[in-house]
């Protein structure tokens, strides 16, 4: 059976011109199957590095990462990634962008009609059926990020990894996409790890918020369970006492325990 994600004593050292740089130091993290975890921390704290480790895009210099009890030795279709900069291929339509992965993962087992159906289904899930034939330059930033989500979901990953997916969007678009993500997660129950620097976003979406200390040698500073009933409603939560408690905890960690890094070092 699926056993989620395990990050075991993972360290990352980058070799730079100024000598070795310890980005992450002995991080341990267990994510249960179906759990939604947010990684939060200041810029440069290594939260994206941790996500890349789980994705297999970066390999640890020490320690191991396991996904479903299997050692992560590289990227794989069991882990879908939504990138910070949507990263759509500009020469492909939205449909083709999603279809590329679908064909790769299911192409050997299913016929063309079934594959097309999968891609259409993923695009419908993010309400982009009408934009399927459009190119990325023809659609808005929010829509691009929706395609990115559809692309990651279409390959039916066990784990969904999101690297500040809504960071570049305006507040209203971001809220709409957060609601959409919550709905999709209710439907498909993936394990989710999401990097964010938005405290409200983390509480709204996550079952657990992992707070990371500032780098270099970043590690996990605190681990907060968010015990808010689902489905969650952002308007109701605005006046929720428990929400305010969580918010205060996170803000205290970020701005009292961890100093805001100087802009030059981030």
């Amino acid at each position: 059976m699926s056993s989620g994600l395990q990050v075991k004593a993972v360290s990352v050292v980058f070799n730079t011109k100024k000598g070795p740089f310890h980005a992450i130091d002995s991080v341990n993290l267990d994510v249960a199957p179906g759990e939604f975890v947010c990684l939060i921390g200041h810029s440069g704290c290594g939260k994206s590095t941790l996500l890349n480790l789980i994705a297999g895009l970066t390999l640890p210099t020490g320690g191991e990462v396991y996904c479903d009890s299997r050692l992560v030795a590289g990227p794989g279709p069991d882990r879908g990634v939504v990138f910070q900069q949507h990263s759509l291929l500009p020469w492909m339509t939205c449909f083709e962008n999603v279809h590329l992965g679908v064909r790769r993962v299911f192409g050997a087992r299913e016929d063309a009609a079934a594959l097309r159906h999968r891609t259409e289904y993923a695009l419908n899930m993010v309400h982009l059926e009408d934009a399927a034939a459009k190119y990325p330059f023809e659609i808005s930033g929010g829509m691009k990020q929706r395609v990115g989500i559809a692309r990651a979901l279409a390959i039916e990953p066990r784990v969904l990894l999101l690297d500040e997916p809504f960071g570049a969007l305006d507040a209203l678009t971001r809220a709409a996409l957060q609601d959409e993500l919550m709905r999709i997660v209710e439907q498909t129950h993936p394990t989710v790890v999401m990097v964010t620097h938005d405290v409200d976003e983390a509480i709204l979406l996550a079952d657990r918020v992992i707070m990371m200390t500032n780098g270099p040698k970043a590690s996990i500073g605190d681990d907060l369970r968010i015990k808010l009933a689902r489905p969650r409603d952002r308007v109701a939560l605005a006046s929720d006492a428990q929400f305010a408690v969580y918010r205060k905890r996170l803000l205290e960690f970020l701005f009292l325990k961890q100093r805001v890094p100087e802009p030059a070092t981030s």
């Binding site: 994705a55 297999g56 895009l57 590289g74 990227p75 794989g76 279709p77 882990r79 879908g80 990634v81 990138f83 900069q85 990263s87 291929l89 500009p90 020469w91 492909m92 590329l100 992965g101 790769r104 993962v105 190119y135 990325p136 330059f137 692309r151 390959i155």
Partner: protein
């Protein structure tokens, strides 16, 4: 009404008119009363005092000769007397031939060296040494080995087109955005799918930049090549007219070379717009 002089093309037109006027005044004056100095000079070179018309044509001469050349552009009076249109077509055929071979060689090779850094490192010294060699330097060697002047001209076009294409393709392939490569890695695409659907489309703009540089250089070189080896072509035409001291024809040919070169460039820009991705 004040705005009319702000338009760039109005200024261009004025500059052109000014240039033609200056040209006309400069060349037209020697037709009239020769100045004292001219007479002295004419005496010195033994042509007596008779006013001799300068070989430099007036703008009107050039226009007249140009119209004449264009009206007979595709005349064919024996193999040694072709219209200027035929010469132009011969030049274009050589350029497109050499350029086509260069594309066929340099794009796959550029792909290979862009994908395999070791191969790039191994071939780079040769590229760096051969790239600055003027294509004309290859001419005698080409004539000796290929034993055909037409083939030699095509070879010269090939050799001058190949470097920008090779370097630009290799750069385009090796500098594919990391984001896109990460997409490929995360989706677990096969090597072939990655090359076909990610690396190639991502490199297309750079490949076309290489093509633009190459075709421009090729159009440069063809004139020189044909002056040396040609029995036809626009370069040969200019050299031939120079031997006949037909300066009006030479000037007409220069203008035509410029316009055709511009046309080739515009064509490639349009092709880039059609085939390269938009962001």
């Amino acid at each position: 009404m004040r705005g009319i002089f702000d338009r760039p093309w109005v200024l261009s037109l004025l500059l052109f008119a000014g240039f033609v006027l200056a040209w006309h005044l400069a060349t037209g004056s020697s037709q009239g009363a020769p100045t004292a100095a001219d007479t002295e000079y004419a005496k010195m070179v033994g042509q007596g005092g008779a006013a001799k018309q300068s070989a430099m044509p007036t703008p009107a001469d050039v226009v007249r000769r140009g119209a004449e050349l264009l009206s007979q552009a595709f005349d064919r009076n024996g193999s040694n007397d072709l219209g200027i249109g035929w010469h132009l077509l011969h030049s274009l055929a050589r350029v497109l031939g050499g350029f086509g071979i260069a594309v066929a060689v340099a794009v796959p090779l550029g792909f290979a060296i862009g994908l395999v850094p070791k191969l790039y490192a191994a071939l780079n010294p040769f590229i760096q040494v051969l790239k600055p060699v003027s294509p004309l330097a290859w001419m005698p060697l080409a004539l000796y080995t290929l034993k055909d002047s037409g083939a030699s001209a095509i070879f010269m076009i090939f050799i001058c087109s190949v470097w920008p294409l090779l370097i630009n393709t290799a750069f385009g392939v090796s500098a594919v955005r990391q984001d896109w490569l990460n997409v490929s890695r995360v989706l677990g695409l096969s090597v072939w799918t990655r090359i076909r659907h990610i690396v190639f489309p991502a490199a297309v703009p750079m490949i076309f930049t290489g093509m633009r540089i190459s075709i421009g250089t090729a159009w440069f070189v063809i004139v020189a090549a044909e002056m040396v080896v040609g029995q036809s072509g626009i370069g040969y035409f200019i050299w031939n007219e120079w031997n006949n001291l037909q300066i009006s024809s030479m000037i007409t040919a220069i203008v035509i070379i410029g316009l055709v070169g511009l046309g080739l460039d515009v064509l490639l820009v349009q092709m880039t717009r059609l085939l390269a991705f938009q962001e």
